[in-house]
Amino acid sequence: MNYILPRPDSTTLSTPELHFLRTTALSSTPHRLSGRSPTESRPIRLSFSRSHNKAECTSQFGNTRASASVRGELIPPPNMDRPNDGQVKFNVDVGPMGVMGYDVVTPASNYNEGGGGGEGGGEAAYSQRLESNRLLRVLERTLLIGGSIDAEALCVQSGVWVWRLVVDVSLVCDAGNCLDACVLAVVAALRHFRLAQVDVMEDTSSGVAGEESFREMQIIDSDEKEPTPLPLHHTPVTATFALFSDKSGATSTVSSLIDPTDREELAADGIVTWSYNKYGEMCCLDFPGGCELSMVQLMSSSDLGKKRCIDICEMLETALMEAESKAHEERMERLKHNSKSLGIVTTISGCDDDDDAMNIDNEHSDSKAKDEEYRKLALDYASGHIAAAVKDRPLSFGSSKKPEASSLFHAFLHSVKKAQTVDEDMEIDALVSQDEQTAKHHDNVTQQKALDDISKLNAITQQQKATEPKPMVMLGEPNSSDEEENVVQLKSEFCSVDNDNTNNQSSISAAVVADQPQQETAAAPISSEQKQAKQMDAAEGEDVDDLAIAVKKKKSKKSKKKSN
């Protein structure tokens, strides 16, 4: 090996990033990299599935994804001092899939049979162990010690058979705040899980007189007898804050950002996690320090955490109800099938999930569309400000080119106008206070970004049809479109913090638009339109809610001008 490898872990942060994150977090109006406010969290998405004796849930907080699955086993009571207690075993797996640089290790578990793991080697393994350990401990404390799962309710036959629930948690992707994602996934999976009925066989063995007779138990399939939900006392969820304190000690302000991303977590001084249930009862506090907090600050973060947890609980309830009805429908389907086909079992073990073999194409494109929608909602950093109008325009892959071309063209015009207006604004308002400017920029950038997203999406669909080298060729095109493109890029360097995305998208959209035959005429109308558009834009302000309407407006105005 004669080259130097960068540290293969994700625990390093470059100095400019660190500096930026800290200064913006500690400024008087705290900003975040993604444009969220300090009390705003990313949108959550849950997806469930259930089959016999098993339930799964995947929770998504933006890019962070965690997946939990619950299954049940019948075992003799593990602790003979407590013959009525069942067991809940958590296995937390944080592997290379979740975080770059982690190794494949046996999952951390709260009941380890056999020896513990071997020596950890190096920095990455240590932080990995810490991470999985922290997840495990918080899960344990919130659910077991906090008293939401009652171990005694898992008893089937006292002293002979008890249920053991095995909860496997795996971190699919870590983009910050994996604790909340994991806890939510576990809680949702536990709520969604249905405990199968158990059948006691006839006692055929001849036991010693006076002893508890050992009977065979058989778990009845969920399709035969309706399984029962788990007896959970309450449903706790967590809210995590990243804390930034002023290291120089000049002020004692502590900034707390809810739902931190991974960059924010690395730059943060400390983390505090509150856990509440939907009644506003506090279930757990985990403040592992790193940053000093006065009592007042701690209590105020608890109020924020409470609000957030209650919101999450409501959302969880609705999601669970949907999932329940869906699972119920599926079960009815299965029963119908079973009664139709003469006793041929259609259920493949472990594959009773959402994707039925018959509906796989529809389901697939459906879920893809849903994925895209969520992705734009969560990762489009303007989610709080603009309603993405994707729903109005159905994503049709492979529709005719022409209508898309004109709408794309207009989208490009629109974005370019926005770019021009923002540029001029920047020059004029150079001396205006920071906040005003950044707010405006955020809005404009976000609008432009929304447009870029949509144009990028359409661009991608077109590129799927078109040949590959097109984008490369188009970038060397006549200056007019390039100038616009350059203008867009420059502006984004200054005020948009999401460099790569914007650049990519504007280049792609420029490339695709340049493909159109209307390219030459694009140059002239653009400059004349801009001035008119600027006034219009100023008038419209920022309430361009529906993109389609806006685009249509522009179209009608353009056609008017052409007729003039």
């Binding site: 006392h233 001084d269 009862e281 320090g289 940053c291 000093e292 209590m299």
Partner: protein
């Protein structure tokens, strides 16, 4: 059960199971420099110790040894702008709950958690940026555990760091507080021992803690009035106000602890000064 009857009697006169009043902390002794501190000039991280402290809170006894700041063994662990703080918490085979198994500190999840908590709590106080590219190792050995293992460890670590002469922003003191309803009356108590902890968290397995019982270990910097660590896992129906009261009591407990620790530090300082002047009362081991 005999102990149940005894506690019933004690609770009648408003005393706890070990005869304390609700707002009394356990008898606490601190001994700085329990182990001879050797010169840590050598680069080997395995030699000697810079400071040590032996702290006992009631029946819980914890020994802490600090080494450093010294050279980091592995370049990959070096931090360019501050010192690396490594904390290891170990139990001993003879410490209760005496099942004679030593939990491996690298795999036992409670020990990993406590080591990490200790590390973050101390890193809020140590001026790490004064020692870039070096390492400070804090090893805590739990000699006897009667509840409050984490708090005693934090207190011992602070004292050992002071004994080693490592600059701190403030002393980190830890104390726990709890609350339960005894006979219909809500009682907030300070510095719980193991039996009280089990009663508060219902650690005995089936059926979690009944609502409104809290066990809250807290570490604070008393002179600055800031909380550095707090952990709570009980379900509270009162919400934040009940929690706020318990936190308040815990912080007062930390204040009491700090006074005892500060007295111990002054005593040690006086002893060292006297030895320097040649008027030592007690023979200091070389």
């Amino acid at each position: 059960m005999a102990s149940l009857r005894r506690t019933d009697i004690l609770s009648l006169i408003h005393l706890r199971s070990d005869g304390r009043r609700p707002n009394e902390i356990r008898h606490m002794t601190c001994h700085l420099g329990a182990l001879p501190s050797t010169n840590c000039g050598s680069a080997l991280p395995t030699s000697g110790c810079s400071g040590s402290a032996l702290v006992s809170m009631g029946l819980t006894q914890v020994l802490c040894v600090v080494k450093g700041p010294c050279d980091v063994g592995r370049r990959s662990e070096e931090l360019p702008d501050r010192a690396t703080l490594e904390v290891i918490v170990r139990t001993t085979p003879f410490s209760p709950p005496g099942d004679r198994r030593v939990a491996n500190p690298t795999t036992d999840r409670r020990l990993i958690e406590q080591s990490h908590l200790l590390q973050t709590a101390l890193s809020a106080s140590i001026l790490l940026h004064l020692y870039p590219k070096s390492k400070i190792t804090v090893t805590v050995m739990v000699l006897a555990d009667d509840g409050g293992r984490l708090e005693a460890a934090i207190n011992a670590a602070t004292l050992a760091l002071m004994d080693a002469g490592i600059p701190l922003k403030d002393m980190v003191c830890a104390c726990s507080a709890g609350r339960w309803s005894a006979g219909g009356v809500d009682e907030i108590v300070v510095d719980l021992n193991r039996r009280e902890i089990q009663a508060a968290t219902g650690m005995s397995g089936g059926g979690g803690g009944t609502s409104d019982t809290i066990y809250l270990p807290v570490a604070t910097m008393p002179q600055r009035g800031n909380v550095v660590l707090a952990q709570c896992e009980s379900r509270l129906s009162g919400g934040a106000e009940a929690f706020g009261e318990v936190l308040d009591v815990a912080m007062k407990g930390c204040q009491m602890v700090m006074e005892i620790m500060a007295a111990a530090v002054r005593e040690r300082g006086a002893g060292v000064w006297k030895a320097k002047e040649g008027k030592a009362d007690v023979m200091l081991v070389e």
